[in-house]
């Protein structure tokens, strides 16, 4: 009698083990790409402080990335308030702004790199308005830097540094503002490179 109960228990144990193996095999075989999988100490992955792109219930709008308080400005911030996004602001920038950077090979090389990244998809690497997006007809109506006339008057090749800077900062027509992507100093490097492209025939 005692022997048979032991055998029964052994059987039960074996059945459970079988089931466990089958379970493990099935679960490890189909790894779910939508889940991060097994994790140990998840709290060590998550920051204690808030990352800028995290939701944050401490603020009314639920964002961590808040605008600076009104009438304050960050250290080293370049203001551009005197040239608003109007026709007058554009003309004024064209007259009174000059590129603070000296034209040299380093600045031009950096300007060329930035131009390639931020401008050439539409404006083309030569500045002829025939970028890849224009060629595949995703975008159209992109002007050339060295021919034709500007939509705000004047020749494209005669645009001054201040007008180009104003355009990068605020955008015009279908071109959006690139102020959030290119810092003011990098914008001047792009302007420098664009002015080199304007000299083409």
């Amino acid at each position: 009698m005692k022997g048979s109960t032991l055998a029964m228990n052994k059987n039960k144990f074996v059945y459970t083990a079988f089931l466990a193996i089958a379970f493990a095999a099935t679960f490890s075989a189909c790894k779910d790409k939508r889940s991060t999988g097994l994790e140990y100490a998840r709290n060590m992955y998550d920051p204690i402080a808030y990352n800028p792109d995290q939701p944050n219930k401490n603020f009314k709008d639920g964002k961590t990335a808040q605008l600076p308080p009104a009438h304050t400005k960050p250290v080293g911030f370049t203001e551009y308030d005197e040239f608003p996004n109007t026709k007058e602001g554009y003309e004024a920038a064209g007259v009174s702004m000059v590129n603070p950077l000296p034209v040299d090979t380093i600045n031009l090389a950096q300007g060329q790199h930035l131009f390639k990244v931020f401008c050439s998809p539409c404006h083309g690497e030569k500045g002829d308005g025939q970028g890849h997006l224009v060629k595949i007809e995703k975008f159209s109506g992109v002007p050339s830097y060295f021919s034709g006339s500007s939509s705000r008057g004047g020749e494209m090749k005669a645009l001054t540094a201040g007008k180009i800077y104003h355009t990068i900062t605020y955008g015009v027509n279908n071109m959006g503002s690139h102020a959030s992507q290119i810092t003011p100093i990098d914008r001047w490097k792009v302007v420098m490179y664009v002015q080199e492209l304007q000299k083409q025939q």
């Binding site: 074996v14 790409k33 975008f139 959006g176 503002s177 959030s180 992507q181």
Partner: protein
């Protein structure tokens, strides 16, 4: 009488042929005009106008019905002069469209303007649908889960059918044998059989050994993969396709992830960066003239109304992307250190082509990923292996290493050197 009817017939015939030819000729001329006009329209007008919806300027469909041709022929080359001269129709048009000045086009002569008007009248030529056209972000790729479930179901069904068939054939066999009058031994029940087997010590040993090997290897694999997120591909709020943007459109990684070259974080672009293109690009041709539903999500999140082109901040709601790459908070990784300082070394070490961005070294072929996933394991071993193998010699023109060498020279000469000179005042040295 007969002659007359013959003559009439032939006249009628020739008239018909002539008119048919002329119709064809006119329509080909029109098509030619429209083709020229399309090129001109794309080059001159489309930065502000579209045919079927407002961009910067009004939609141009049916413009020839709204204004007399004589007016358009004057307006398009030089609208500013007409407004200045006080032409009432011109002033009204200017005022009706928010007083946004239209570019003047002195280079467009009458023939060219007529070509453009012909194109506007004809509309966009219907392009044949290319079956080999690359997939766009709008298509759903979430079928793999379903297909796996389908395969499992088929296998299970097959097993069930096999078992039933086996039982049936056994039963039939037994019936035949009984009919022939042959007595058959009753089958030993499964439970008793298994019990018998487990009385055999050798079998039990073998079984336990198998069990240990199986569980051990599963446990080992499980532990290796704990916290390793390779292949992690969460569902994002917008079906954004890197294949379309970085692959087909060839937009540089840095255009959107512009933090990668400046800072620790590569940054997820804010929606204003999307709007740089998607203010105009709405993929209407793929959705029967409607704005793509995925692009509409950008607009909804920003509170942007594509009809009025105005933003309403009270309706804006931030887009909550799901983070794919996540290092533990105790590990510091700096993007700019890798993609700017170490670019050449990493390119050499990973054998990247000149046209491939340096980002591919760790993020894999992003330009082929319809849906983004984690390509590299991002484990400590993975980092360390790369740091052991990558050759950073010959980086003479690299400003970062030049500074390090300069500091070393100073130390060698016994000159005064402070942590501040070695970047010790950078906030991120201590706080991150």
């Amino acid at each position: 009488m007969r002659d007359i009817s013959m003559i009439l017939k032939s006249v009628w015939k020739s008239l018909f042929v002539f008119s048919a030819i002329s119709v064809i000729a006119v329509s080909t001329v029109n098509a030619q005009d429209a083709k020229e006009g399309r090129t001109l329209f794309k080059a001159k007008c489309s930065s502000c106008h579209a045919l079927d919806h407002k961009v910067v300027g009004p939609a141009l469909e049916g413009v020839s019905d709204r204004h007399p041709e004589a007016f358009l022929l004057k307006w398009i080359p030089n609208n500013a002069a007409m407004i200045a001269a006080g032409d009432p129709a011109a002033v009204k048009l200017f005022n009706d469209n928010g007083k946004v000045a239209m570019t003047t086009f002195p280079e467009l002569d009458e023939a060219k303007v007529k070509d453009i008007l012909a194109y506007i009248k004809e509309g966009e030529p219907k392009a044949a649908v290319d079956p080999n056209a690359p997939k766009t972000g709008a298509q759903d790729s979430g079928t793999s889960g379903l297909s796996i479930a389908g395969i499992v179901a088929i296998v299970v069904l097959a097993i069930v059918i096999l078992v039933i068939l086996g039982r049936a054939s056994k039963l039939l066999e037994r019936l035949i044998l009984q009919k022939q009058g042959i007595e058959i031994e009753e089958d030993v029940p499964l439970k008793v059989g298994v019990r018998k087997m487990f009385k055999n010590k050798k079998f039990v040993m073998f079984f336990i050994l198998c069990l240990i090997i199986c569980l051990g290897s599963f446990g080992w694999m499980g532990m290796w993969e704990t916290g390793v997120h390779t292949g992690y591909q969460p569902v994002q709020p917008i079906k954004f396709s890197h294949e379309l943007h970085a692959g087909i459109n060839q937009i540089d990684c840095q255009y959107c992830h512009n933090g990668a070259f400046k800072s620790k974080n590569a940054t997820i672009p804010s929606l204003n960066v999307c709007m740089n293109c998607h203010k105009a690009v709405q993929a209407r041709d793929k959705y029967d003239g409607e704005i793509s539903p995925e692009i509409k999500k950008i607009y909804a999140s920003l509170g942007y109304d594509p009809e009025t082109q105005k933003y309403d901040e009270s309706k804006a709601k931030p887009m909550e992307w799901v983070r794919v790459h996540n290092l533990p908070d105790f590990a510091y990784f700096n993007h700019s250190q890798h993609v700017v300082v170490a670019e050449d070394a990493i390119r050499k070490a990973k054998g990247l082509q000149p046209n491939e961005p340096v980002c591919f070294a760790c993020h894999g072929p992003v330009n082929t990923m319809e849906e983004i996933y984690q390509y590299s394991p991002l484990t400590m071993k993975w980092c360390i292996n790369c740091h052991k193998e990558t050759d950073i010699s010959g980086q003479k023109n690299n400003a970062f290493y030049a500074k390090v060498i300069e500091a070393h020279e100073k130390i060698k000469k016994g000159e005064k050197i402070t942590p501040a000179l070695l970047g010790g005042l950078e906030c991120g040295k201590c706080h991150y």
